[in-house]
């Protein structure tokens, strides 16, 4: 605060109207300055705030309003229907199974995406030669568009011509049909997702590992601690904040799964992989029921808010302890 006031002072002084030592004029000048700063502050924020209001806040509010209307894609029927959409959504089996699929995908993908990322980062951080190649291999898939990833993996999973079943064939195993089989489709999508996005968590862990002070390990060595002991007593505890961060980012990202499932299975077979966002898309853009799609969107949104709040509570408790 004081620095900011000091900062702007010269501009007042430059007008030359304020005699030195006259404090009453100074406060008046300060008030004027604050007024111009308010104007200027809003002016600088304006371009962002206009976009923010138009493309984020307005759709959020408008979507909520739409969930109480019978709006269709044609846009003609905008009559108020009260809680009809919400009641229908809560009784719609597809909402619950797709929400279940979303949660199931999140559970299946989050654990390997955190554990594999940690293992890769620890291995690379040992300083083995070939740093450039390791980072490239593990991070490269993250740079690919979902469509490219899906194309690659649909081809990998091709029951007759794909590499996965060819590989299994070398060991005399007849592979499943993967994406066409309800019992393996979700696992196949999860494997693809781990391959695609683990590089991001890997980089976060790698950065965190490099921030652990070397002195901690040196002290432990003097006390005669072995490699495993050092990992358990120094590395893991030092990585705890990163793990919480990675875990939360991952859960939130996994809950929003859409692209690769839409592209690889279309939600099938038999809706066994359809996540809630895909159901919203189908209801809104294939079924043209925008109002109903909005209601389901908000049920999903509340789920995200609850998880975010749980995280904030945990995080604040953690910082209070620290």
């Amino acid at each position: 605060m004081t620095t900011a006031d000091g900062l702007a002072a010269p501009s007042g002084a430059r007008t030359g109207s304020v005699p030195a030592g006259d404090t009453s004029h100074l406060t008046e000048g300060r008030r004027a300055r604050r007024r111009t700063d308010t104007l200027r502050g809003w002016l600088y924020c304006a371009p962002f705030l206009i976009a923010f209001g138009l493309f984020l806040i307005w759709p959020t509010i408008y979507g909520f309003w739409m969930s109480f209307t019978g709006t269709s894609l044609a846009g003609t029927n905008t009559q108020f229907v009260g809680l009809d959409n919400w009641v229908e959504a809560l009784g719609d089996a597809n909402v619950w199974t797709s929400l279940g699929n979303t949660v199931w995908f999140t559970v299946l993908s989050t654990v390997p995406l955190v554990v594999v990322a940690l293992v890769l980062a620890v291995l690379v951080n040992t300083g083995l030669p070939g740093q450039w190649l390791w980072r490239l291999s593990f991070f490269l898939p993250f740079l690919l568009a979902s469509t490219v990833v899906s194309q690659f993996w649909v081809w990998m999973y091709n029951p007759q011509l794909g590499l996965v079943n060819t590989f299994l064939g070398w060991f005399g195993i007849t592979g499943p049909t993967w994406l066409q089989d309800p019992s393996t489709a979700m696992v196949a999508v999860v494997i693809t997702t781990v391959w695609w996005t683990v590089g991001f968590n890997f980089l976060l862990y790698l950065a965190a590992l490099q921030n652990i002070p070397e002195s901690l390990y040196e002290a432990a060595s003097l006390d005669g601690a072995g490699a495993w002991r050092k990992f358990r007593s120094i590395t893991l505890p030092q990585l705890a904040p990163t793990t919480v961060l990675v875990l939360v980012l991952q859960i939130l990202a996994s809950l929003k799964v859409f692209d690769q499932i839409f592209q690889m299975t279309g939600g099938g077979p038999g809706g066994s992989t359809r996540p809630v966002l895909l159901y919203i898309y189908e209801v809104g853009f294939t079924g043209y029921r925008l109002g109903y799609a909005s209601a389901i969107s908000y049920i999903f949104f509340f789920l995200i808010i609850i998880i975010s709040i749980v995280y904030m509570v945990i995080a604040s408790r953690r910082s209070v302890k620290a």
């Binding site: 030669p129 593990f138 966002l277 799609a293």
Partner: protein, 301 residues
Amino acid sequence: MTAATPTLSRPGPAASAGATSLGRRRKKIPPARIIAFVILVVLAFAWLVPVLWATLTSLKTEAEAAAMPVSIFPKSGFTLGSYIEVLSAGRVPRWAWNSLFTSAMVTLITVIISSLAGYALSRMRFAGRKLIISMILASIMIPAQILIVPLFQLMLTLNLVDTYWGIILPQVVAAPMVFILMKFFDQIPYELEEAALMDGASRFRILLSIILPLSRPILGAVSIFVFIGAWNNFLWPFIVVNDANLMTLPTGLQTVISAYGIQYAQNMAQAVLAALPLIVVFLFFQRQIIKGISTTGIAGT
């Protein structure tokens, strides 16, 4: 932010430390190290397999790609036939241009409006500042995907469906980036600006000639993060554009899968072509991109 910055200079010393310890132990490399190395080699290879497999397929003839039993290397030799086919008949170059243009615009606009807002929130004290900051922070929770329905309605109203601006504008709102930039500006000492103000420089001049040049690393990181996000964005361009000439690479590719059906070699050639630009960029700017992702990734929360 502070936690992330030391990392930037770290890879150098860390790598050299690894090298010296290797040199010292040349006589006897501990077995644990060898095991770790072997595991890394296997994992790194496994990670590259899908890309290699797609590339190999794209270099086969259609007959060879669909032949049973599956051969890893084509028996009749490699061919660029699929690439030639795709580049001459398909719209891949057009989509690549659309992707480049829209992503560059998204990045440019995002960086400009976010820096302006970030600077004001960091350096000016004004009524409503706290309100703006808390609104920006709270909005990070809103999943962009649930907005597609009302956003599409808005685009219909604004007549922006099937236009470049329809793709670009909704993507320029990056609340976490404003926050990251604000945090970075907070760390720049006030004294630098004070001197300039004393000399009668305007706020805008100070931002342009002092603050932004000092913020080059974070501006680079934010740009990389935003660009990659926009380049790979699928859902929004898929919804707002139906004209095949306006599609971006990810959305265009999706329409082709259904159209081409079982032309495996051509499908893979398209996918590899679509992947290529970012891979090449990554090979050139590996260090900056990795820094950028880890700083924005950590600071973004």
